[in-house]
Subunit: 431 residues, 2 copies
């Protein structure tokens, strides 16, 4: 078994056929981290001894559990009772919250090995994080704010990792790192114990190099679906949604959308343009306004209780944008109306394809890239799976987003598998 190339379901199969042990998996993980972490810098906290101890406990427990022994990387805005939770914030240096986030609690009950904390920007907001590299090219960003989780999965340090998305913090890094990223429907996986930013937007997200691992996670998190999952593209109606910000798409994303549409058509799908009604024209500024309004409440305590909090949070709390209440209410009305409208529109398609990022990862580690193509779907509360298989001008990965109706997460995962097959590509390990 090559640890770095083995997906979570492969590790579980190896464990359950007695080919390896949880301790064996942990040792392989430690070796892979030693090999890749000096270049990638994806982890904010990693203690090999503690991982081995935890693996021994799992070996002594129930190894028939669905995620038994699977190492999981956890974005450092998610509370973990046995690893620090620091939010990349000086106020929380060394902080241990004494409890797990709800998602961690559920993953542990499924046998997972909570293996490492991964790099995040401060409070999963803004662009200030540790200088994590894109595993495909050290001078390029892996995207953010879930930088470390996406990079750790792409580099084969862990088969699965958790991120969070409030704008585009899960899907954009998936696109840049050439892996699968899943932003579930809003509220179907508990966000308790994740640092808050946008109360109506914050969503737990997941990364993997193999879509079957998302099926496994969908079981663990008890997601449902109605009707059969997709198994064949023939006859499916696919909407191509360039979104109201298509003018921002770079050449890599333009090509990815055309290539994907052609591949789906060649595989028998009916591929049609999905043009949104004018109600959606301002959907991006609407998202930014709601995020800023909800951020005021989210960061108030940080600013009040810890005056050294970075000025960017004070600016959010003090409404430096100067949004009026009338404008904010207009934005909420627009979001409510578009969410309602979109669920009507979405019923006309089996699934929808949209850009996952502006282009391939930009050069430099100071800026994690634009979330402009992700925000609308976060605001719409729909499930999004980013599928790799395309590339940009420098040959770096570019993803496309597969989107289904709210709560049809399993359908989105099955549609992503068909898109991935049509593109003839898999989640690539960045060796």
């Amino acid at each position: 078994m090559n640890y770095a190339e083995t997906p979570a379901h492969g590790l579980v199969a190896a464990l359950q056929s007695d080919t390896t042990t949880c301790t064996g998996i942990a040792e392989a993980m430690i070796a892979r981290v030693a090999e890749r972490e000096p270049t990638v810098r994806a982890l904010s906290h990693f203690e090999p001894e503690a991982v081995l101890t935890a693996a021994r406990v799992l070996d002594a427990g129930d190894t028939s559990l669905p995620l038994a022994g699977v190492p999981i990387g956890v974005k450092d805005v998610i509370m973990t009772k046995d690893l620090p939770t620091e939010y990349h914030s000086p106020r929380y240096a060394g902080f241990r919250p004494a409890m797990d986030a709800a998602c961690i609690d559920t993953l542990r009950a499924a046998g997972a090995l909570i293996a490492a904390k991964t790099v995040t920007t401060e409070f999963a907001a803004g662009n200030r994080g540790k200088p994590t590299s894109n595993p495909h090219s050290p001078e390029h960003t892996p995207g953010g704010s879930s930088s470390g989780s996406a990079a750790a999965v792409a580099a084969g340090m862990v088969p699965l990792a958790l991120g969070t998305q409030t704008g585009g913090s899960v899907i954009r890094p998936a696109s840049f790192c050439g892996i699968f990223g899943w932003k579930p429907s809003w509220s179907v996986i508990s966000r308790e114990g994740l640092k808050m930013y946008g109360a109506s937007l914050d969503t737990l997200g997941l990364y993997a190099r193999d879509l079957k691992d998302f099926d496994l996670l969908a079981d663990v998190f008890d997601l449902e679906h109605t009707g059969p999952l997709f198994s064949n593209l023939t006859g499916l109606k696919v909407g191509i949604c360039r979104t109201p910000v298509w003018n921002e798409a770079g050449p890599g994303t333009q090509t990815a959308m055309e290539t994907t549409a052609a591949a789906l058509r060649a595989s028998g799908a009916e591929v049609v343009d999905l043009d949104l009604p004018p109600d959606f024209d301002d959907i991006h500024p609407v998202h930014r306004t709601i995020l800023a309004r909800e951020g005021r409440a989210a960061f108030l305590n940080e600013v009040r209780a810890y005056p050294a909090t970075h000025p960017e949070f004070r600016e959010i709390v003090e409404n430096a944008r100067g949004d009026s209440l009338e404008w904010v209410r207009h934005c909420y009305r627009t979001a409510d109306r578009c969410r309602w409208l979109y669920d009507e529109i979405a019923q006309e398609y089996d699934f929808v394809i949209a850009p996952s990022s502006v282009d391939e990862a930009p050069k430099g580690l100071d800026h994690t890239g634009s979330s402009v193509f992700n925000c609308m779907w976060t605001l719409m509360h729909v499930p999004v799976v980013s599928v790799p298989g395309n590339s940009g001008p420098s040959g770096l990965p570019v993803g496309v987003s597969v989107i289904c109706r709210k709560f049809d997460d399993r359908k989105a995962i099955s549609a992503a598998a068909l898109v991935s097959d049509a593109l003839g590509a898999k989640g690539a390990l960045a060796a």
Copy 2:
């Protein structure tokens, strides 16, 4: 200074004029608790020595802070780093989370004395709690799930307390206990560190016996408003909204609505019926469905990680109601549409009056009463202030809800003051 009769702003004034100290206030609180707690049973955790120690620390600090020395009761689903947080759940007996909820962090930064944890039903869901009594009548419920917070304020044990509302858990107890209750607009006060139930519904709530204390809290939580606050009823247009469940209103609530409308009219307001369009006909089952769907995600980890979790949570997680995804999506579409419609409707009125509860508090401590009149406003995300001053068939208190547009919390507080004046009543101490 009579502690039990003094509102928070009065305690602060006494402190800042050197009439008392934080320690003096704490001693008065301890005496009042000793007097009333044996009957009322509002507190789930109270350590007099720890309160005195905390008060001495406050006396040595900045007593010019806006809430300096004010004892606050905290519903035991809200994380507190120096008091247990037990959620009335056996899994969390004695649990100390090592961090404060965001609201507690902000209140401490304002000088507040986090004085006691108050009785809640398990996870602020269902009806199983400790047998807290209504301070006005020991055989009647104080309402729930914020039972202890409302009862502690009504009994004069604390001038302020925190609750949470997902259905009607703040406003109903305020109505039953004859005090002011405030459910803010959704998302304007951070709910980080509160046990989750409904991600789109959970709202921090506040109790006081004096509306000026809500102004103080609105300052501390940095709430805003546009245009002047209300200072006179003359010429204001008030909508009377009996809601689609008016047939459930008992005689106390029917009389309270008529009395309030007449009092407002007599004070110069234009009082008109607000009849909701048919879109709202199913708004109560829509709320129940969304709550159940969001509860599935919220309680999954409890059920998975702690098999002894009460069966009622397993039933939620397993969708014992049998809601189909199509029905759930219909409910979200209805909620989105009604939220958008309501903000259009609300612009036609200065404020709206609606029932706060079905009637006065029912007899018995096993059931905390119906939230049927509160759910719609929770779902609409609008600010609600419950105003006492009416009474039911047994002479127990009955509140009415004063409602403004989303984000106009300060306007709702100022409107509540006018309603309270028109009714010629104040938040009554239950001696």
